[in-house]
């Protein structure tokens, strides 16, 4: 479990501006440009979502669980977990859009992209050298790419 980094949100710092959602969508767009991405069809999806309830702003992304229900439930064998990094990843070439992961994720962090027929979840920007795009996009530094221990008490 050492060094299993993922996106952790310090909710008290989150203002609910949704910059992370935009950064995520752009990072997963064809053009990687915030202006051009708006004109892509289908529109790029984001996999971090700022949810609001009971006075809390919660930017929520996949927890990359130690025991991922999505991986166990996947009918297509499309989901895997890297034991070194802890990352849970979807192989989109194998995903058939059966929505098993959507049905079993306790966090609702895997969602159904009906346009592409593929599951969407945080991939920790696996194709982005600089790491997850949401983290530097946050104006209040509410997002950390790290472990729970890295969060200041």
């Amino acid at each position: 479990m050492e060094n299993h980094r993922k996106i952790i949100a310090m909710t008290k710092l989150c203002t609910g501006c949704r910059s992370c959602e935009i950064a995520c969508a752009v990072a997963h767009s064809q053009t990687k440009s915030v202006f051009q991405a708006l004109f892509e069809t289908p529109l790029p999806r984001y996999s971090i979502e700022v949810q609001h309830y009971d006075g809390v702003n919660l930017p929520l992304a996949c927890r990359h669980c130690e025991e991922p229900d999505c991986l166990f439930a996947c009918k297509a064998g499309a989901i895997s977990k890297d034991l070194e990094t802890g990352q849970v990843q979807v192989d989109l070439s194998k995903c058939v859009g059966c929505w098993m992961c959507v049905m079993v994720c306790p966090f609702g962090a895997a969602t159904a992209d009906m346009e592409r027929g593929k599951a969407v979840k945080c991939d920790l920007c696996r194709e982005r050298e600089e790491g997850p795009a949401c983290v530097p996009s946050c104006p209040t530094k509410a997002l950390v790419h790290g472990e729970l221990n890295d969060i200041p008490k």
Binding site: M1, K6, I8, A9, M10, T11, E49, Q51, H52, Y53, D54, V56, L58, L60, R63, C65, E66, E67, D69, F72, A73, K75, A76, G77, K81, L83, V96, G97, C98, W99, M100, C101, V102, M103, V104, C105, P106, F107, G108, A109, A110, T111, A112, M114, G117, L148, I151
Partner: protein
């Protein structure tokens, strides 16, 4: 733990693990055992000759979702080699000699075991309709079924699908994709009658009809007519539908034959305890063959669905390897998509008896429907335990609802939110904060920063 566990004090050294069954439950067990023990001999026996494939994908393949030359592999072809698993494929296990601790194969071979898992799955329920043996009458469960149906499609013009559950509807979508004129015929008054309300079933009926798939309700087949090859289906109301393909999707019967001659008790499925043990020492059962406690319905049942099968296999694997683990129960659940409309149904969706309370919304113009079922626990003035959910058109967040059912927590404080269709994780956060003992684990703690 997915990672290797080095404290296997209870494990018998070099225990021989034998798994009968090569699908979700069998693979779940094999992966769990191998994760705990890098070297113990594991043998998988299956009467199907194919390498580890996903039978749940056959409907997607038939519907053309996987593209040409698609593979149905659940795991890479090197899976057995990589995991150091001996696979005996294309051979049926015919008998268990529990005294000698051996599995007998159809070719006379005897396979010794120390720990045995029965993950034998289920078979399509026979219709008991005259003419079922005719060519062109298919179940829809195995790779073999899929190949046979593909062959039949080449010359078929018309088809009848018997069954209006997810499998039946997926089969009908598949036949429609291959331009076979298809009729879904069911005894119940509406589609998806086991897992959804009439409103939802009727919506899907309209959707299928819009795509020229006919739906006939309230009729049962009495004969599959024809010669060697089926030519038509005769129904109890006198209707006769021409069909060169008939697919029966009437549910699944657990393959319990191997329990014969052992102490294993069977009540429809093989009776298991919380560690997936049968009544025979060192014999476990998991998947579509296993009777388990339904966590939501609070009764023993066979929940023949993929995620439950894998999880049961995994729990069995842990216990077989001597690492005690409790199965916290199964849940009925289905997910599907028909003509671009998604559908998920979890738990009790058609409650019978006292104490239940249902809330549903249909937004027809948006193609959205959702229904939640609550149970009133003693002392509560209103339904306060979520026990069922049906989502149509938008399925995101289904797992949040499923988890609330699994945890069986009081949801009074967020009930209105849920009923109004707001069931993102943030809604659950106050419950997670208050009941850290129920929502246990690193992943939950990470959302409380």
């Amino acid at each position: 733990m997915i990672s290797q566990n080095k404290n296997l004090t209870q494990r018998r050294k070099d225990a021989k693990y034998v798994i009968i069954g090569n699908s979700a439950a069998g693979i779940g067990a094999a992966e769990a055992i191998r994760g705990l023990d890098g070297s113990a001999p594991i043998t998988i026996i299956s009467d199907e000759p194919e390498s580890v494939y996903s039978r749940a994908l056959i409907s997607y393949e038939l519907a053309g979702w996987l593209g040409p030359n698609a593979k149905l592999d659940l795991r890479p072809l090197e899976f057995y080699q990589e995991k150091n698993i001996q696979a005996i494929l294309g051979h049926r296990a015919v008998k268990i000699d529990s005294a000698a601790r051996e599995v007998h194969l159809d070719d006379g071979h005897k396979i010794p075991y120390d720990k045995l898992l029965l993950a034998t799955g289920g078979s399509p329920q026979k219709t008991a309709v005259k003419g079922e043996e005719r060519r062109g009458v298919f179940g829809f469960r195995t790779y073999r079924d899929l190949l046979n149906i593909h062959e039949a499609i080449k010359s078929a013009k018309e088809a009848v699908v018997l069954g209006g559950g997810c499998i039946g509807l997926q089969a009908a979508s598949g036949l429609h994709h291959h331009k076979v004129k298809t009729t879904i015929a069911i005894a119940s008054p509406h589609l998806l009658s086991q897992v959804a309300d009439p409103e939802c079933g009727d919506y899907f009926q309209g959707l299928f009809e819009k795509h020229s798939v006919a739906v006939k309700t309230g009729i049962s087949p009495v004969e599959f007519k024809g010669g060697e090859q089926v030519e038509s289906v005769l129904f109890d109301d006198g209707t006769e539908l021409p069909a060169q393909i008939v697919i029966t999707g009437k549910g699944v019967v657990p393959n319990v034959q191997l329990a014969e001659g052992t102490k294993i008790r069977v009540d429809w499925g093989i009776i298991t305890d919380e560690q997936m043990r049968t009544d025979e020492p060192d014999i476990f059962a998991a998947g579509d063959v296993a009777l388990t406690q339904d966590r939501v319905a609070c009764k023993s049942t066979v929940n023949a669905v993929w995620p439950c099968a894998y999880e049961q296999g995994r729990v069995a694997g842990f216990n077989m390897a001597g690492v005690p683990r409790k199965y916290d129960g199964s849940m009925r659940m289905n997910a599907a998509e028909f003509f671009g409309v998604s559908f998920i149904s979890i738990g009790i969706v058609k409650p019978k008896g006292e104490g239940y309370e249902s809330h549903s919304r249909m937004l027809k113009d948006k193609g959205l429907y959702w229904k939640l079922v609550f149970l009133r626990s003693s002392g509560s003035p209103q339904g306060n335990i979520l026990v069922g959910a049906v989502l149509m058109g938008r399925v995101d967040g289904a797992g949040v609802l499923g988890n609330l059912m699994r945890k069986r927590v009081d949801v009074s404080s967020i009930k209105d939110e849920l009923i109004n269709g707001h069931y993102d994780y943030a809604r659950v956060l106050p419950l997670v904060k208050r009941q850290a003992g129920v929502f246990e684990g690193l992943e939950y703690r990470e959302t409380l920063v």
